[in-house]
């Protein structure tokens, strides 16, 4: 069983998933990050035996196609991990035009102006917690807890590729056009998914990410707006 330490971390609980998979459960994003990093290290050193897939998620890491599930379960059951907050490697910069259809609504939920909402979002460093929903769709953590927003009750039937969006504690970027219920705050032209690239996803689990506020391509500085070229304030409706 799991138990909480004084630091709030939990020991790893291993749940069996059929005959050749294990679900390793911990208590927080940071512990998932630490567990995932440890599993990747063990796999690269050949300590896990055959494991086909290592899939991090919100509170768990799934190991699938495990040749020796008993052995791996015994190795990780009850382990305690120091939460990891930062990602690893160089920071991937995501140039973002903050003009999403829901930006004003998000700013309203945060009780700040649109310009301030952009400043808050572009001011944080993010980490890819996990991928899912679609190939290359990354769930990024890093936005402080108080900025969590609900998803739309009725999803949009089509969200354009490159949309930068929020849901719950996560920021995501849609790699391709798809239906989606997240709050759209901006868009990027960065190619997030390319099956001919290795890895095919730009944002893989553990990657550090920053969003860089940019003007739309070909945008002319508007009269009376000295801030052209500076971080954009997005659509009209600022100063709420």
């Amino acid at each position: 069983m799991t138990e909480r330490s004084e630091a709030g971390t939990r020991t790893v609980r291993v749940r069996r998933v059929g005959r050749s998979a294990l679900l390793l459960e911990v208590g927080s994003d940071g512990e998932v990050a630490a567990l995932h990093a440890e599993l990747m290290r063990c796999q690269s050193e050949g300590l896990l035996g055959r494991v086909d897939e290592i899939v991090p998620a919100a509170r768990t890491v799934l190991l699938d196609g495990v040749a020796q599930p008993e052995l791996v379960a015994g190795e990780f059951e009850g382990r305690r991990l120091e939460p990891l907050t930062a990602g690893h490697g160089p920071v991937v910069q995501v140039p973002t035009v903050y003009d999403g259809a829901d930006l004003a609504e998000v700013a309203g939920l945060w009780r700040v102006s649109v310009a301030e909402a952009v400043r808050i979002h572009a001011g944080c460093e993010y980490r890819v917690a996990f991928c899912g929903f679609a190939p290359g769709f990354a769930y990024l953590t890093g936005l402080p807890e108080q900025y969590a927003v609900p998803r739309h009750a009725t999803p949009r039937t089509r969200v354009p590729a490159g949309s930068v969006a929020l849901a719950g504690p996560y920021t995501g970027v849609y790699p391709g056009a798809s239906p989606g219920g997240w709050q759209l705050i901006g868009r990027t032209e960065l190619p997030l998914w390319d099956p001919d690239r290795d890895p095919a996803a730009l944002l893989t689990p553990g990657t550090r990410v920053r969003f860089l506020a940019v003007e739309p391509k070909g945008a002319e500085p508007k009269a009376g707006e000295p801030g052209a070229g500076e971080p954009t304030a997005g659509e009209p409706g600022a100063g709420r």
Partner: protein
């Protein structure tokens, strides 16, 4: 491609090692039939084949080829003349290989010597209908590239036709989230007769029957990794058995997992087929 039938896709063994990027596994739903079809025409056992659904498929040979049809039994014709199911068949240049509607089962596998040589994406030629990776579903008029033949066909007498199963029996290893359900729900799952829903597809075998009730105080499950054969229970309580195109992560609790060996039969279970779960003692 003369007639793609209701749904024909290119399938091999699917994608391995990319689930962490959100890429489903895909691959033939009936791996035994996929391998057998390839062996009959002398292909590598993992070569790409055509997976047809219920209504069969028709192809015109642009060069002489050897084909084999296995999986769900169906009438096979070459230029209108009856040809064997479950054995290699020569198709001369210009002739039409026609696989008719299945007599039982769901998915037919058509191997062509040399294998279907569409471009591989992330190590596989499989169509993934959930995320759209790989070749799109086949359309009339499309030309399929074949690779060079790598081996000799196995000229055997036609295989016996599989008999239609009266009932689909699926073993179920409980977990990882059986503790999200009432004791009554688990008893219902082990004792009820479900039937295969007509909206089943390559993502999942959807079942109709008594809904499974979750414990009331559990809230929402954070998204977690999903496996082949996972029995996920959405809020309507009707179990879905995940097949090859299943999503890599999901937020509905998985009550148990069906062993891969039982999924071959699941891939061939037509809508309306009765389903029973044999819950294992684990």
């Amino acid at each position: 491609m003369v007639r793609p039938g209701p749904l024909t896709t290119v399938q091999d063994r699917g994608r391995v090692g990319v689930a962490a990027l959100g890429v489903p596994r895909a691959g033939a739903l009936d791996p035994d039939a996929h391998r057998l079809a390839n062996l009959l025409v002398g292909n590598d056992p993992g070569a790409a084949v055509l997976e047809s659904t219920l209504g069969g498929v028709s192809l015109r040979a642009l060069a002489p080829l050897v084909a084999a049809v296995v999986g769900a039994p169906a009438p096979v014709r070459v230029d209108g003349r009856a040809a064997p199911w479950g054995a290699p068949v020569r198709v001369p240049t210009g002739a039409v290989l026609d696989v008719g509607s299945v007599t039982c089962g769901v998915r037919g596998y058509v191997a062509l010597d040399g294998g279907v040589a569409v471009t591989a994406v992330l190590g596989s030629r499989s169509a993934d209908l959930l995320s759209g990776l790989g070749p799109p579903r086949l359309a009339a008029g499309q030309v399929l590239p074949l690779g060079p033949a790598t081996g000799e066909p196995v000229w055997i007498d036609p295989l016996p036709l599989p008999a239609p199963p009266a009932e689909l029996q699926l073993r179920l290893d409980p977990g990882p989230r059986e503790d999200w359900f009432t004791a009554d729900a688990l008893r219902l799952l082990a004792t009820s007769r479900y039937t295969v829903s007509p909206v089943s597809n390559r993502v999942g075998l959807r079942l109709l029957g008594p809904p499974l009730e979750r414990l009331p105080d559990r809230g929402e499950l954070p998204s977690e990794g999903m496996v082949l054969g996972a029995v996920q229970v959405p809020p309507d309580g009707l179990p879905v058995v995940f097949l090859a195109d299943h999503p890599t992560t999901g937020g509905y609790p998985v009550v148990g997992v069906v062993p891969a060996a039982d999924l071959t039969a699941a891939a061939q279970a037509a809508p309306g087929t009765p389903v029973r779960f044999a819950v294992t003692g684990r």
